[in-house]
């Protein structure tokens, strides 16, 4: 019996992701769910500016790039034209919670029937480790060499922020720092896609992820950092679920 195989929607290529990075796991989980729900031929994904930009090199379905932070706006245009297709907005923390704050808040507030996978690793990865809006207080980065201080703002809790908006349907924070959390993330992603398929509206899964290269930690230390530091500020769980009332 075959216990494990590469999802059909995931191309058989090496990724550009660093060892210990969470993006590869999250990419795979998306593809597993796409296969399971048999929606590959209906998928239109939007890859962000940042480490996720090469999504089209790995996902075997239609993909568009977007300008930095504008992914939810591009997703809105696509979904309004093709309401019967499954639209995925894949974004990192700099993209979604800094330069794209307006776009994510208003896409959420309009209740766009899309799925957002928000990868939160508390740092700008592709540009080389600058402070992100989700960087923890005291956390060092190339633009917070002495640690993040108060006058640089506080880590933004995106799920809690969006939970205030009537337009949002489902918001959950998960992590890929342990096998158990990977399984929970898979379940959350599946739920989000199912909600879109049944026209339930806007869902966002925030995934706490590792960036060993820019955190300057090894893979195990990085997984522990997510558990011991990040989860204190970004608690895991379902932040909002209106599907029972909607």
């Amino acid at each position: 019996m075959k216990l494990y195989q590469r999802p059909k929607s995931l191309k058989n290529v090496h990724t550009h992701f660093c060892p210990g990075c969470g993006h590869g796991i999250i990419h795979k989980l998306i593809c597993e769910v796409v296969d399971e729900l048999k929606i590959r031929e209906k998928m239109i994904a939007i890859a962000p500016v940042g480490c996720g930009v090469f999504g089209y090199n790995y996902w075997d379905f239609d993909v568009s790039e977007a300008a930095h932070g504008r992914t939810p706006a591009v997703a809105t245009g696509i979904k309004r034209v093709h309401p019967d297709k499954i639209v995925l907005s894949y974004q990192g923390d700099g993209d979604l919670a800094a330069i794209g704050t307006a776009e994510i808040i208003h896409a959420a507030n309009r209740g766009e029937n899309i799925t957002v996978i928000f990868v939160n690793n508390a740092i700008y990865g592709m540009t080389g480790g600058q402070m992100a809006p989700t960087t923890l207080m005291g956390q060092k980065s190339t633009t917070t060499p002495f640690g993040r201080e108060k006058n640089l703002g506080y880590p933004i809790k995106v799920c809690e922020l969006l939970a205030q908006l009537e337009g949002t349907t489902y918001l959950e924070r998960t992590s890929v720092n342990s096998p158990l959390n990977v399984m929970k993330t898979r379940k959350a992603i599946k739920k989000a896609f199912e909600l879109q398929i049944t026209n339930k509206g806007f869902s966002l899964i925030e995934v706490l992820s590792m960036c060993p290269t820019n955190w300057k930690k090894d893979a195990i230390e990085s997984c522990n950092f997510v558990k011991e530091q990040m989860m204190k500020i970004f608690p895991l769980g379902v932040i909002k679920d209106t599907t029972k009332t909607k």
Binding site: S64, A67, G77
Partner: protein, 349 residues
């Protein structure tokens, strides 16, 4: 709809033409003096069961258009100068991704907030690309409510034919003006290319990708830039739109586009000299060959900006012995017939 003569406002007419030409997506953001267009689309797109979105910003509106166009739709947005500045990011991406769309700029005075009077001060921004990177837009400069109707329809065809953003560069006066026009049905050209590149879900085909990132210089981005340039050169050859009046043996030819070209028409009619008008309609590509072929020795550029189009006139006439004079009124002022007559007198002394 059959060749009916009606009295309508410029901004409304653009909306009517877009709907008639099968515009499948519109996103916009309020800004004066183009609000009537967004309002028209808010009503009529919905009545026609097509998507309309009032975006949270012009930045978002143009990126929605990016998405809609990537999805294969005929997509449109509109704004006025400060809002068009915000759209430049998205326009650069749309141009880089070879996506078609229509953008309307009802130009107002600048820089900054400027005012809300009509102006032509965004000529450089429109014809030089406006955003970052080596790219061009097709830019059309209509001068009547009738032309707003006709060229809005044509814009969708040009955008689809060349996979390029097309800008209608109007001015606030043109958008606000009420004028009679003849409505007519839209006939889609038969030879428009199929949008096989569009994102529609990969059923029965390999996945499509819409992108602007080409990381390596030598075999990727330069190649992409050169391919874009092949398209721009093709457009330059195929699309040079203009109108001429009385240019045969004219002592002096006035070059003007948009609203002010109508003032110039009055000047020509009332002048006792032999004055011609050369009116560029495509502002990019600028109709340089036709202008150069006029063989006139004296040109007067009249524009509602501080000497922007005059640069294209001089470039077109480069190497000839023609002289080029300029009347430039910025800030929402329209050059008057009197000041143009006065200038003609001086030039033909």
């Amino acid at each position: 709809m059959t060749n009916k003569k009606v009295l309508k406002k410029g901004n409304h007419v653009i909306g009517a033409a877009a709907i008639e030409a099968g515009c499948e997506f519109y996103a916009g953001y309020p800004i004066t003096p183009q609000n009537e267009l967004t309002e028209y689309m808010a009503k009529h797109m919905v009545l026609n069961k097509r998507p309309f979105v009032q975006a949270e910003s012009e930045v978002s509106a143009i990126n929605m258009v990016f998405g809609a166009s990537a999805a294969g739709a005929r997509a449109m947005t509109s704004s006025s100068s400060p809002g068009i500045s915000l759209k430049q990011e998205g326009i650069s991406y749309i141009a880089g991704a070879n996506l078609p769309c229509v953008i309307v700029n009802m130009v107002r005075g600048g820089p900054g907030l400027g005012n809300i009077a009509g102006a032509q001060s965004d000529y450089f921004q429109a014809t030089r690309g406006g955003g970052h990177g080596d790219y061009r837009l097709i830019v059309l400069g209509p001068n009547s409510v009738q032309e707003l109707y006709d060229y809005t329809m044509k814009s969708f065809d040009l955008a689809d034919k060349y996979r390029i953003p097309v800008m209608i560069l109007g001015d606030g006066y043109l958008g606000q003006m009420m004028e009679s026009l003849t409505l007519h049905k839209y006939a889609k050209p038969k030879n428009l290319p199929k949008k096989t590149w569009a994102l529609t879900g990969c059923k029965g085909r390999n996945p499509n990708v819409i992108k602007t990132l080409y990381l390596t210089p030598e075999d990727a981005l330069e190649k992409h830039n050169l391919e874009l340039n092949v398209k721009y050169e093709k457009i330059k050859k195929e699309l040079q739109l203009f109108e001429t009046i009385n240019v045969q043996n004219a002592e002096l030819v006035i070059v003007a586009y948009g609203t002010v070209s109508r003032v110039v028409k009055n000047v020509i009619e009332s002048s006792d000299k032999k004055i011609g008008l050369f009116r560029p309609i495509s502002l990019w590509p600028f109709p340089e060959n036709a202008l150069r072929n006029l063989k006139c020795k004296k040109f007067l550029v009249v524009e509602m900006s501080l000497g922007q189009m005059v640069e294209d006139v001089k470039l077109s006439l480069f190497g000839t012995d023609a002289s080029v004079d300029l009347i430039a009124r910025p800030g929402g002022m329209i050059p008057t017939e009197e000041e143009i007559h006065k200038k003609i007198k001086l030039m033909l002394k």
